[in-house]
Assembly symmetry: C2
Homo-oligomer: 442 residues x 2
């Protein structure tokens, strides 16, 4: 085997990994503008989320959600425009009076009429938006870039005169002309907005496009950059992450990503992404163990189920099934986990009651049952379990019955099995089937 | 307004956009190795998907799923290792005999024992995998890179001698030493594998990392590159897309993304991403209108609901709600859609029965009801609808009642309303509330 010697550097490579002081998934040093370790969250569940098909939030529910988000630690809470309806105005006023730590924003069209109502509600800032793409200029408001600039300057100067924060965002930024975009952003930056926003309103952007646009924008403006990504093509989390790498500072999120169509960057999913890159920052700033409660609160309010495959809180997000995975997880959870379920108040499961199971997982179950079998005996009983698993779905009782019957055959009469305690933990996690999700098929 | 003249280039920019012959969302010309317009799909629902916590597929169900995937047009179907259980072996043999257009693969450990069973099943190719990260080498198989190389060469030469395809993949590639990785890939490429695979087994990778690794790998090997991304941090679709930009050719997917933990790149979500970038290729190669049926088939088999926010098939993926969105969509759907629901056999909805509605959406409903109101009258009735929408969730009947009552007040006795026909279409889409999803909250 002549190629053999090419692989002798294994030991050195391993040592290098052990000595690696920085987080290898942390900010890339080449991204000198990166805010991966210093980002802020603008939660828009009560604005973008209200545009979700199923959303109807009563005043009480809005307040409950706002308090939960504030407790979690989001930096800003964005509310529906007070000109959308009379109750929207009253709700905005009510939430401003709660005295939350999070700053309260409202989201308006680029009109003086809207701005005047917004500043009267007591918000800490106003998010102004106007469509800049050819599509929106032609079919939505029908205005050209000169008109947009004039309106923006008027609204921004008015809001600034009231001493509160102001953001100017283009809408449909990724289908807008780049020169138009940079012109308008440069103009509003000179007037002194707190931040400019880019919005992938239709969900067409891909990560490297996002990185390029944000980097370019950061070379033109001195204010912060906010980003807003729809999820039509499944890239909303990745796009937000890549925007932070490129120098964006603030990410718009909503609980479970609810919003127009299939929504935007989800709060929980973004936390999964960010904790890998900036664990200390994320864990010290946000109450991650509250994610599940907040998602359940919002899911119930808008009458949806938390998706089975949701990051972090999906019912099997920390369930390991294949024999080869289970074996390694039993030795060291980091083998097949980049997220630690404990960080989110969640539990790790080994799913051993199936035909893909391996003898290492079954051996752990045998130990948990306080039975005593040799490795060869465990391999034998594993084969029996896999045989039944070929015929039908298994549950824990099936597996335990097979193990106990096998043990009874070979054990001396004096050895008696201790009843299984499902809450029992080995190596800090539950060795059992996960909570099976038996949902109605719609 | 001194800045005014900075925006006179609007007309030219618009013209430039109109004259733009290429798809602006297509492959980036700088990605000279890009396979965005020539990618292939390896569907792993019957391998990775079988590792999903809820999955137990009978032989009949496996065959039904394999036939559906073949009809859809996937290039490869990957099956569970025939050494996982006796039924796994028989199922593999049965699916090989179906005579599908898609090539059948099975996925094995890098052992001669496994390889001998695999080549005897009748598969068109074998996917070999071995862990190369420090974590997996220490806690899973306990072997060093020399041993890995020796095993790989033995298995690859054996499978090649049988005249079928062979892929060699590292596992946990993004936590493996880069020099080790490039060494092993270069070695197996020289022997003549059909493709090498990179796998983000724990879901830690981010798009720009993926791009860099694939570009580097493509400079070392001459064979095709396959990629496999887990979705723990929500980037599996974006990572797959970016891998194609960097020169990967094949993407592992599963229906609804089912797999270990919260799964991998989903078939449907990737199609949403790819149709934006390579519409002609995607539409000519894959039967996109079958996605909904395939997802329903698999969702039922593994007892989950299709996530409410699933790309394409989520119940509100093509529902537009906010007044400003509805207005523009009525004028031109491309304003707020990058995906055309018709491409997937889906329907577009305008959700007008809510407090965020606008008078343009209500005017369309008035027209649909064959009533006649002036714009000012429509604005007046819209205000009434928004008032009720502030108090409680609305349905279409609520809105129609308000419109008809308002019309009755102002109309002459001779004008009678035609009964509403909910199937009626305006501008090619349904102007109605979407099918409300009233699911049990678990």
């Amino acid at each position: 085997m002549s190629q053999g010697n090419e692989f002798h550097q294994v030991t050195e490579a391993t040592t290098a990994l052990n000595n690696f002081q920085q987080n290898p998934y942390g900010p890339n040093p080449a991204d000198y503008l990166s805010n991966v370790g210093s980002f802020q969250l603008i939660d828009s569940t009560l604005r973008e989320g209200e545009q979700f098909a199923n959303a109807f939030f009563s005043t009480e529910k809005k307040i409950e959600i706002a308090r939960a988000l504030d407790d979690f630690g989001v930096d800003y809470i964005e509310l529906t425009s007070p000109v959308a309806s009379e109750q929207s105005l009253r709700d905005c006023q009510a939430i401003c009076k709660l005295g939350l730590k999070a700053k309260i924003l409202t989201h308006i069209r680029c009109h003086m009429d809207d701005a005047k109502v917004a500043v009267g509600t007591g918000v800490d800032g106003v998010d102004v938006v106007i469509g800049t793409s050819k599509f929106l200029r032609q079919y939505s408001h029908g205005k050209d870039m000169n008109y947009i600039a004039k309106s923006a300057i008027e609204v921004i100067e008015y809001v600034k005169s009231k001493g509160i924060e102001i953001r100017f965002s283009s809408e449909d930024s990724f289908r807008s002309d780049l020169v138009d975009l940079l012109n308008i952003y440069k103009t509003v930056d000179k007037i002194g907005v707190n931040r400019v926003g880019i919005a992938d309103t239709v969900g067409c952007a891909n990560p490297r496009q996002v990185y390029e646009l944000v980097r370019t924008l950061k070379s033109v403006v001195s204010c912060d950059v906010e980003c807003h990504f729809h999820n039509d093509t499944g890239c909303a989390i990745a796009n937000a992450y890549t925007a932070l790498e490129g120098g964006a500072k603030l990410v718009d999120v909503s609980v479970l990503g609810i919003g127009e169509r299939n929504g935007i960057t989800p709060l929980g999913g973004l936390m999964a992404r960010m904790i890998v890159a900036a664990p200390d920052y994320v864990k010290s700033k946000y109450k991650l163990h509250k994610i599940r409660d907040i998602e359940n609160l919002v899911a119930e309010a808008v009458e949806v189920n938390v998706p089975f495959n949701n990051p972090i809180t999906g019912f099997c997000a920390f369930t390991h099934k294949a024999g080869i995975h289970a074996k390694a997880i039993l030795a060291n959870p980091s083998t097949y986990e980049i997220l630690n379920p404990n960080d989110f108040g969640m539990t790790r499961y080994i799913h051993f009651a199936n035909r893909l199971t391996g003898w290492n997982a079954i051996k752990s179950r045998v130990d948990q049952l306080n039975l005593h079998l040799t490795d060869d005996q465990v391999k034998e009983v594993t084969a029996k379990i896999k045989q039944l698993g070929d015929v039908r779905p298994l549950n824990i009782d099936d597996v335990d019955s097979i193990i106990k019957a096998f043990h009874a055959q070979i054990a001396t009469p004096r050895v008696t099995a201790r009843p299984a305690n499902r809450e029992e933990e080995i190596n800090g996690f539950d060795l059992e089937a996960p909570p099976q999700k038996k949902t109605k098929i719609l």
